[in-house]
Each structure stands twice: as structure tokens, then as C-alpha cells.
Symmetry: C2
Subunit: 185 residues, 2 copies
């Protein structure tokens, strides 16, 4: 009654087709009819399953990154680990991040981006820090991280894109480290 095999298959076909298309083309350039065609079904069915294009977007576009390299890194190497993590980041994460940023004209997508920034970038760093200004330092490091992804992916700075990755990791690692660890401590 709740699922007879074919039903969830269709729903999941829509889900995965939407995920792929949204990652590749963003929110506005992806049409419900495209999603339906890619899933081999009908546009009306897409809406029936997910209420609206925007809700389907929110249900498919979840940004997560692998925390582990940060959690078990010694504090004095946290900066470099974070830089490595970000510079090597790619694949679905790139598409989801871009879709969230570029779709944030829609209020609900904007809220999702705000949440993502808080829970994916700020929170993991905040947990490793202490001291009265720990919160500001975590938020600044998150702003640095967002700035790196912004420069590489959103603005598309070709100079940075051409820069040697190990140099980028080293430079940004030092930056992160300086922000995360207390002044000259």
C-alpha cells in the first residue's frame, strides 16, 4: 500500500534525475519537464510526488562534506587539513554548492544555504576551538572557506584555478591556522 516496488522506483528515479540536473544546471535552468523526461515519467507526477519544484530542489540538494580529517587532526595542523579538504573538494559537492548559492534568490533556498553554512562549515570548526572569541574565529574561518569556494567556483578566478594545488593548500593552510589558533599563542 505504501510501496509496491514500482512506486518508490519512480519516485527515486525522479529524485536522482532531479539531483543530477540541479547539480549540473542549477535551479532556474532546470525545468520540471526535463526532470520528468530524464526520469521517464510525466511532469504532473513530479509535482504530485514533491509538491513543487522548489521542494524537490530542497529535498535533493543537501551539501555534506567528510568531517573526519578535521575531527581527528591535531590542532596545530587543523588549518592545513581544512585547506586540503577544500582544495580537493569537487564532484557533487561543487554542483550542490553552486546550486544553493545561485538559487538563493528563492527565500527557502537562501535559508537552506544559511543552515548549510552554519552546520557544515562553522559548527565542525567551532567544536575544536575554545576561548572567549572561539565563535568569531570559527565564523571567520568559515568565511575564509566560503571565500575560497566562491573565488574558485562562483567567481571562477582563473588565476587561482591555475595555481599549483599544493601552493594553494600551503598558503590557505597558514591562513586558516592563523585564524583558528589564538594570536601568537
Amino acid at each position: 500500500m505504501l510501496q509496491t516496488g514500482s512506486r518508490t522506483t519512480t519516485r527515486e528515479a525522479i529524485h536522482s534525475a532531479a539531483a543530477r540536473l540541479f547539480q549540473d544546471q542549477g535551479f532556474s535552468r532546470t525545468t520540471v519537464r526535463q526532470i520528468a523526461a530524464a526520469a521517464g515519467t510525466d511532469p504532473a507526477l513530479v509535482i504530485r510526488h514533491f509538491k513543487s519544484k522548489e521542494l524537490l530542489f530542497l529535498e535533493t540538494m543537501h551539501l555534506t562534506i567528510d568531517d573526519e580529517p578535521l575531527l581527528d587532526a591535531p590542532l596545530e595542523h587543523l588549518g592545513e587539513r581544512l585547506a586540503e579538504l577544500l582544495v580537493e573538494l569537487d564532484g557533487p559537492a561543487r554542483g550542490v554548492f553552486l546550486a544553493l548559492v545561485r538559487g538563493s534568490n528563492e527565500p527557502q533556498i537562501h535559508e537552506r544555504l544559511r543552515d548549510t553554512h552554519e552546520h557544515v562549515f562553522i559548527a565542525p570548526l567551532r567544536r575544536r576551538l575554545s576561548g572567549p572569541d572561539a565563535d568569531v574565529r570559527a565564523r571567520m574561518a568559515a568565511a575564509l572557506a566560503g571565500g575560497l569556494l566562491y573565488a574558485l567556483w562562483v567567481a571562477g578566478d582563473e588565476g587561482l584555478l591555475r595555481t599549483d594545488r599544493t601552493e594553494l593548500v600551503s598558503r590557505y593552510g597558514a591562513l586558516f591556522q592563523g585564524v583558528l589558533t589564538p594570536r601568537s599563542g
Copy 2:
């Protein structure tokens, strides 16, 4: 023939109405009919004057910032000046920046954002720097700047928004300074 008073008035009415609406609502949420209504004219006329909604957007959304505080600042205070400039930034610049970022799903808008990043953020800093890695340092500072605006405006980090502005200027000023001036120089 080229302008008989009323013609440029209408064209400029469209231009300024579009600028205001695009800044407030972004590209996708602003409709040609809205612009026409705000300018007291017809949707078809909007297209006739500017060829397309996207070209109208590109003609109205130019991001510029006042360079002077950077040009005449002594090198050792460049970082703080830049931080001041960014933290105090607001008004049209905010709307234009957000519209460019969120509209960058459209290839031409993306290209405009790329150009803006290159000419508004990177170039002025690059001119003040020298040394073999001057280019990378300028691009990293620009990425930091983009990250600050990203965190404040795009992601909407409420923690940073609540942070005392002078503290933000001081912290980011030091960051900029460390990136702009050569290692331990």
C-alpha cells in the same frame, strides 16, 4: 532623431526601474512586466529598447567600489583600509553583488561576475604589490574579500553580522595585511 526628450526619458525610466528592481529582487524574481509597470510603459518596449531581459540586466548591474582609500593608503595600512571599505560597504553595491552572484546561473551573468571579480577586487590590489608572487597574493586577498561579502550577504552569517564592526575590521585587516605583504617582511 536620436533623442527627442521623451524618448531618452522613457529609456532611462526603464533603466532606473530595472536597476532598482534587479537590486531588490534579483534577476529571476524580477519580471519584464514589473519593470514596464514601474517605468510606466509597455513590456514590449522594454525588450525593444534593450533586446532582452538579460541584456537589460547586464546594462544596469555594474559593480564599482571607490578605489581611493586603497590607492593612497600606505602599504602597511592597506589591509585595514580594505577591511574598512568592505565592512562599511552597502547600498546599491550590496544589491548588485547579490544579483550578480545569484544570477550567475546565466552564462553571460557569470562572465560579468568573473570580470567584476577580476577588475574590481583583484586588479586594484595587484597594482600595489610587487614580487614574484604578487599575483597570487592579490588573488588571495580578493578571495578573502569575496569570502567576507559571501559570509555577510550571501550565506547571511548572523553571528558575523552581529559582530562589532570595529572588531571585524581589525581582525580582517590583519588577515588582509598578512596576505598582501610578503612573508615576515
